[in-house]
Each structure stands twice: as structure tokens, then as C-alpha cells.
């Protein structure tokens, strides 16, 4: 399930929803938070492309489900103005086994970072895309046969 929203989220609630009693052996979660960029006034502004952003997250979720044996997955991306330390994004994955849950969770955030239409602004400056993010995404696209 995917959500794009202004409001905050609760890791505890999302974790509870990811569990399927008796079937889930591993739950991996990732949360991204706003670090302190106080030289630009602090915090972030997050813009997205409504419609296309939802489709992009859904497509990434579908790809993860196709590539690994997952039970449930959750993606939440916040938009709008976010202060230092606020939660930005959550990816949660439940599986019978940990290797699948780790791989899918990292895959989702790596692909999201390079393919989903969101843009961050710190103070007056729109962030530039990072080469390290492209490389992280390329790594997954290169090892298409790398199911563990």
C-alpha cells in the first residue's frame, strides 16, 4: 500500500499492520528523516507531481513484489514543509525470511530516490540529484537475477 501525504506517520502503527501472525518471520523498516541544514534556515520543502508520483510508487511496489516473496509492503512519502528531524519517508516490508525483506526494502528506497517525481528544497535551493543515488539504483537494475 502506498500513500503520499502531508501529515506525519507512526512507525508503530505501520509495523503492526505489516505483520501477519504466524506467517511473518521478518519485518524490515526504513525511515528517512530531515537532518539539520540550519545554514539554509532549517527544514525542507518537498514538492511532488500529483498523479505521477502515486503511479511511480505503485510501480516500484509492484516490481518489489514481483522480484521477492513478500507478504506486505508499505510506502509513505510526505510532502510540503518539513522541519528538521521530521520523518520524510517510510518503507516497510514483511516476509517469511529476512534476506527478501532487506533486499526489497533497500530496493524500494533506492529506486524511489531516482525514479519517483519528488523534489526537495532546502532554504532557497532545490537539491541536486546525487550520483551516489543513481549508482545505488543502477546496482539493482544490473543484478536483475540477484534474488536471494
Amino acid at each position: 500500500m502506498i500513500s503520499i501525504q502531508q501529515q506525519d506517520f507512526s512507525l508503530a502503527d505501520e509495523y503492526a499492520n505489516l505483520n501477519t501472525p504466524g506467517e511473518t518471520g521478518a519485518i524490515v523498516t526504513f525511515v528517512g528523516r530531515v537532518r539539520d541544514f540550519s545554514d539554509c534556515g532549517g527544514g525542507l520543502y518537498l514538492q511532488h507531481f500529483p498523479g505521477m508520483a502515486e503511479k511511480a510508487l505503485q510501480r516500484i511496489a509492484d516490481q518489489a513484489n514481483k522480484r521477492w516473496a513478500l507478504q506486505k509492503l508499505r510506502i509513505i512519502h510526505r510532502v510540503g514543509r518539513l522541519a528538521t528531524n521530521e520523518q520524510i519517508v517510510l518503507v516497510g516490508v514483511a516476509s517469511a525470511h529476512r534476506a527478501e525483506a532487506f533486499a526489497a526494502c533497500e530496493f524500494i528506497i533506492d529506486i524511489l530516490k531516482t525514479q519517483a517525481p519528488f523534489w526537495k528544497k532546502e532554504g532557497d535551493t532545490w537539491l541536486e540529484a546525487k550520483a551516489s543515488d543513481s549508482e545505488a539504483a543502477d546496482h539493482w537494475l544490473a543484478e536483475k537475477t540477484g534474488e536471494q
Partner: protein, 85 residues
């Protein structure tokens, strides 16, 4: 003559001072590449945004290539490389 909707995001919206516009384009503008040239021909700040090869384009919310076709009623979006997550 095709009528399209153009959306601008992030640094591009800010540079051109607009988030969207409705545009009538002549028939010879039928690809993303030719639309970018058309917009770049408006002069500064359009010239620098739309001659940038890093500027991405989506047609009807699907990522497009320079050769993707544009037709009447399309929604065409321009944006810089994404930085979410």
C-alpha cells in the same frame, strides 16, 4: 494545431515563474524534442531550462524520451532530476 497542457515542477517552475500553462502548438511540433526547442526559443529563462539535457519530461505522467510524440490533449510535464526519499 494541437492544444496541450504543460506542467513545470521544482527549479524549472521557479525559473519560468509558472506551474502550468495551456499552449496551442503548430502541427510541426510533434515530439518532446521539438517542444523543448520551441520553449527554449522564448529566450531567457526558457532558453537555459529547455536546452538542459538533464531536464526530464513526462507525457501523460509517463516518462518520455526526446522522440516521444505529443498530440492534442496531452499533459506534458517538465522537471529536473528527482530528489525525493
Amino acid at each position: 494545431m494541437a492544444r496541450i497542457k504543460i506542467l513545470y515542477f521544482a527549479s524549472i517552475a521557479e525559473a519560468v515563474g509558472s506551474a502550468s500553462e495551456l499552449l496551442n502548438i503548430p502541427d510541426h511540433i510533434a515530439t518532446v524534442k521539438s517542444l523543448k526547442s520551441h520553449l527554449a526559443s522564448r529566450g531567457s529563462p526558457w532558453a537555459s531550462c529547455f536546452s538542459e539535457s538533464s531536464t526530464k519530461c513526462a507525457v501523460n505522467q509517463v516518462l518520455a524520451t526526446p522522440d516521444s510524440s505529443i498530440k492534442d490533449g496531452d499533459e506534458v510535464a517538465f522537471f529536473p532530476p528527482v530528489t525525493g526519499g
